[in-house]
Amino acid sequence: MQPFTRVTAVAAPLELANIDTDKIIPARFLRRLREPGYEKLAFHDIRYDADGKDRPDFVLNQAPYRNAKILVAGANFGCGSSREAAVYVMWDYGIRSVIAPSFGDIHYGNELQNGMLPVVLPDATCQKLRQQLREKPGAQITVDLETQTVTGPDGATHRFEIDPSHKERLLKGLDDIGLVMQNIKEIEAFEKKHHAELPWLA
């Protein structure tokens, strides 16, 4: 996994609340393999019209925001299905961090597992950031994991909270599987005891 330390990049405002993972990648594309061109599926049905042409009202289709690496969204971003493809399409598009007042639980975990940083900031702060991004299209935001801060287009700094172990894993690019394998002795001992107590599960 690629470590996440600090990203300074163009940010795009996504106004809607409850952007579910079906919106990030519709179910009919989930059978596609993650191959070159995968990024074209990101936000597919709100990004293209019926003829497959870019919808001008979708923010990432507007020139100043096309190279956005950061999204500032409404509440409950990534609710719904557990599909990790929702992270893959955003990652392949170039998104490295999503800032929102709240996230769907499974999606939040999926972002962390892929080196993407989900940042929770208060609703009012997210609204203010989106307003600044609309007023100054193409403006940049800095997301710094080490200092746990987001610096908006106006230079104001907002501190965010993240679990210390999530932070450490992201900063170092550690994958959970390695962490689990460090505990293989404890795992085997646990299983022996667990299955002695509940033998029908062995």
Binding site: D22, C79, S82, S102, D105, H107, D123, I177, W200
Partner: protein
């Protein structure tokens, strides 16, 4: 100290702790389906194999065709879908997964239906699956969580999961549900009350008289939609109904093992005086059949209500979501939902594809005809056979419903069973998101009996008007 059901299960499964609130947990049962291919690929790239194939259970559901199933794989015409099914079988074989319920297996069905009906799902277990509706299994008093592909890969490789401990929320539904008010109506009412993010970061325990009164099928419906309230899991304490349901199933313990298991299960319910981080209560007696009008499961109202006005929304985010939902659903505020014309009707899914659901719909359909295209996909092949033995298939067919094979079908339309753009579908599924049943499709969620009522009248209808003696 008194403990909750959740705490008892969590504590028993902790292998090691990390800080205050994070633990490496043992997973008792892990389910995979065709959509799990990303995890299998990552596992193979690491040069690893499934560590505990006996504790891994595989069912084909998301991409299986619901028509022409007697033809087996030949019924699948789309090469990408065929690849999904083919890859699934190869991954199961390569990893020694013998509990494999593939396309042609007589016990094939939707993962969250097959687990309980074969007795794989049991009280006190930690259960995982790369699917958000894994919360369903909590109906048996298990801690069941949906995960993404990376975590699934870890579980396949290690049979363990690192997880932050969720907070606890008890939703108590007291009172007696009136006739015509089902488990689906209760859970839609709960989601409407607490919101689609109301359970985020929480393990919900559903309790109270109205929950205890539900059958196991009804409890599965309630826990299935815990995720639609944003919760990590939903669970219900095991009781006599749970044990009676489990007795004699293929994967449940027998003889002395059963006695041992029963003692363990009986120790699980939340102790008197145990504390939850949050509590919410509802009175079932006040409920009516529910439908969703919008594009989030929280946008649910009584069939006797009218489409709400975004101007009345509590905050800006909700208001803008409601405005967009009204545009997508082509509805105006103030429109009574009873009488709204529909184009299709769909019965099935991990939410409402069980035998009791089919019986409830058939009771309404008997002697009546659907006026819109309608279809049923039973939750499992076992349920399909049971329904046929009871003659339910004949009632559905006589009512003009297409009687199909088992799979996820039109819930997410991954197998091609989609609803055309612009059409309104009365559906027993769990999500009414934009495009969920097909691009531009408009989904109204409701109970099986309510879908049957909508099918025969061609519009959203209070099923109580069609019920005998009403």
């Amino acid at each position: 100290m008194p403990q909750t059901l959740f705490e008892k299960i969590w504590n028993r499964h902790v292998i090691v702790k990390r800080g205050e609130n994070e633990a490496l947990l043992h997973v008792d049962r892990n389910f995979v389906h065709e959509g799990s291919f990303h995890a299998f690929k990552a596992l193979a790239l690491d040069g690893r194999k499934v560590r505990k194939p006996r504790q891994t259970f595989a069912t084909a559901d998301h991409y299986v065709p619901t028509r022409n199933r007697e033809q087996g794989l030949a019924a699948v015409t789309d090469p990408e879908m065929l690849h999904m099914l083919d890859l699934f079988e190869k991954n199961a074989k390569a990893n020694g997964i013998e509990n494999y319920f593939g396309l042609e297996h007589p016990q094939q069905g939707i993962v969250h239906v097959v687990g309980p009906e074969l007795g794989i799902t049991q009280p006190g277990l930690i259960i995982t699956c790369g699917d958000s509706h894994t919360s369903t299994h909590g109906a048996f008093g298990a801690y069941a969580v949906g995960i993404g592909a990376s975590q699934l890969k870890q579980i396949l490789a290690t049979q363990c999961l690192w997880q932050k401990k969720p907070k606890t929320l008890r939703v108590t539904v007291d009172g007696t549900a009136p006739a015509g008010v089902t488990a689906k109506d209760i859970v839609l009412a709960i989601i409407a009350k607490i919101g689609t993010a109301g359970g985020t970061g929480h393990a919900i325990e559903f309790a109270g008289e109205a929950i205890r009164a539900l059958t196991m099928e009804g409890r599965l419906t309630v826990c299935n939609m815990a995720i639609e309230a944003g919760a990590r899991s939903g669970m219900i304490a095991p009781d006599e109904k749970t044990y009676a349901y489990l007795a004699g199933r293929e994967f449940t313990p027998r003889g002395l093992m059963w006695d041992k298991a029963l003692l363990f299960w009986q120790s699980l319910p939340t102790d008197a005086g145990a504390r939850f981080d949050r509590e919410v209560t509802l009175d079932a007696a006040t409920l009516a059949p529910m439908i969703t009008w919008g594009t989030s499961p929280e946008e649910a109202i009584s069939i006797n209500a009218a489409v709400p006005d975004p101007a009345m929304a509590s905050d800006a985010d909700r208001r803008s979501h409601m405005e967009q939902a009204l545009r997508y659903m082509d509805l105006a505020p103030g429109t009574p939902v009873d009488g709204l014309k529909i184009h299709r009707a769909f019965i099935g899914t991990c939410t409402n594809g069980r035998i009791e659901d089919l019986r409830a719909a058939a009771a309404v359909l008997k002697g009546r005809k659907s006026v819109v295209p309608a279809w049923v996909s039973p939750g499992s092949s076992t349920i399909k056979r049971q329904a046929e033995a009871e003659g339910l298939d004949k009632i559905f067919i006589a009512a003009g419903f297409d009687w199909r094979a088992s799979g996820c079908s039109s819930c997410a339309a991954m197998n091609g069973d989609s609803v055309p753009a612009g059409e309104r579908c009365a559906s027993t599924s769990n999500r009414n998101f934009e495009g969920r049943q097909g691009k531009g499709a408009r989904t109204h969620l409701m109970s099986p009996a309510m879908v049957a009522a909508a099918a025969v009248t061609g519009k959203l209808t209070d099923v109580r008007k069609l019920m005998q003696g009403a």
